[in-house]
Symmetry: C2
Subunit: 179 residues, 2 copies
DNA sequence: GTATCCGTATACTGGTCGGTATGCCGACGA
DNA sequence: TCGTCGGCATACCGACCAGTATACGGATAC
């Protein structure tokens, strides 16, 4: 398998990002070591420091690489929470809480996400023909809180959160009292 | 100020727990150092290792000391989220995700909390005389998800979460369509 | 084909920090 | 009042790890 330098470098970087996502999610930013990431990628520390400034840059690159995908519809807002991603997101939230600059960036992105969800909320309300119980951005905040909050509970104890609970909660919040 | 040994030891322990809560919340479990905790308490590492087995024991003791106070009523479920406590809780959640034993204990405690909230939900529904949109434990899970989820958003950007949003979300979820 | 250079492996270092061994002082029991 | 002991301070150690310096092999350019 002969590759150009560009291809090779891109492949190495991608391998490192995948490995780093896994290792950071499993051990957390501080407990995870650069050597662990390198080994998980089948490489060595040299590859890491050749592709990233330092450990923090690697961590932030992982998050940029796997950004919150904007949900295409409300129901999928919950499905996008696989375990690894939720752990990374939580680590990052803690990081943001401790660094004002990072927090501002997260706030900006959160607003964009919320507004995107608000548009979906408006759309859903129009389809159903029922009034929203609050402004669309407020309902969007509620939907996102439900999505995250239930996902957190589900990871503590999956049995305590029925698979369809988010969908039903969504129906309640959107003003659908049926069933 | 002459104190007996018992009093002195208890005071030292309490001081350390308070300092540890602060330092762990500010820096996170791994980044926080035992020396920092000791210094914040106006003591030294010797005091820490005289009162706690090790760093992890100190961390877990902080959490036991400041356990989720069971809310007296639904509205106060949200108020109990001051910044420090939410950061510690989140750190602990991550810790639990990585250690099955800890996770099981957290799951047990979460069930107790949820059932407690479910009782409050039942009570509120009876007072209002409206049917719940789901079983009481399910509504309780939703309420807790909202509480945590909105608190997380509020710490990212307090302006994005109106003060009364939780209360209004609560009314929606409890089947109160008025206002 | 050959010289160059880029990207990764290897080897190493300095600093940090959890944990320990020991000293010291003040409370306790008699 | 005195000897003992318990609790905290001090000094220290060893391990771990982020980051660096350098070696090396294969792709690239000519």
């Amino acid at each position: 398998m002969r590759r150009t330098r560009q291809e090779q470098r891109a492949a190495t970087r991608a391998t490192l990002l995948d490995a780093a996502a896994d290792v950071f999610a499993r051990h957390g930013f501080h407990a995870a070591t650069v050597d662990q990431v390198a080994e998980a990628a089948g490489l060595t520390k040299g590859a890491v420091y050749s592709n990233f400034e330092n450990k923090e840059d690697l961590f932030l690159s992982v998050l940029e690489h796997r950004l919150d995908p904007f949900p295409a519809d409300l129901a999928s807002a919950f499905e996008s929470h696989d375990r690894t991603w939720l752990l990374l997101k939580t680590e990052f939230w803690l990081h943001a809480m401790r660094d004002p600059d990072v927090r501002f960036k997260l706030a900006a992105r959160s607003r964009v996400l919320r507004d995107r969800v608000a548009a979906l909320v408006d759309q859903a309300a129009a389809e159903r023909g029922v009034p929203l119980p609050a402004t669309a951005p407020e309902v969007a905040s509620i939907v996102l809180a439900l999505s995250d909050g239930l996902a957190v509970q589900a990871l503590i104890d999956s049995a305590s959160v029925p698979d369809d609970l988010f969908a039903r909660a969504l129906a309640i919040v959107l003003g659908d009292a049926s069933s």
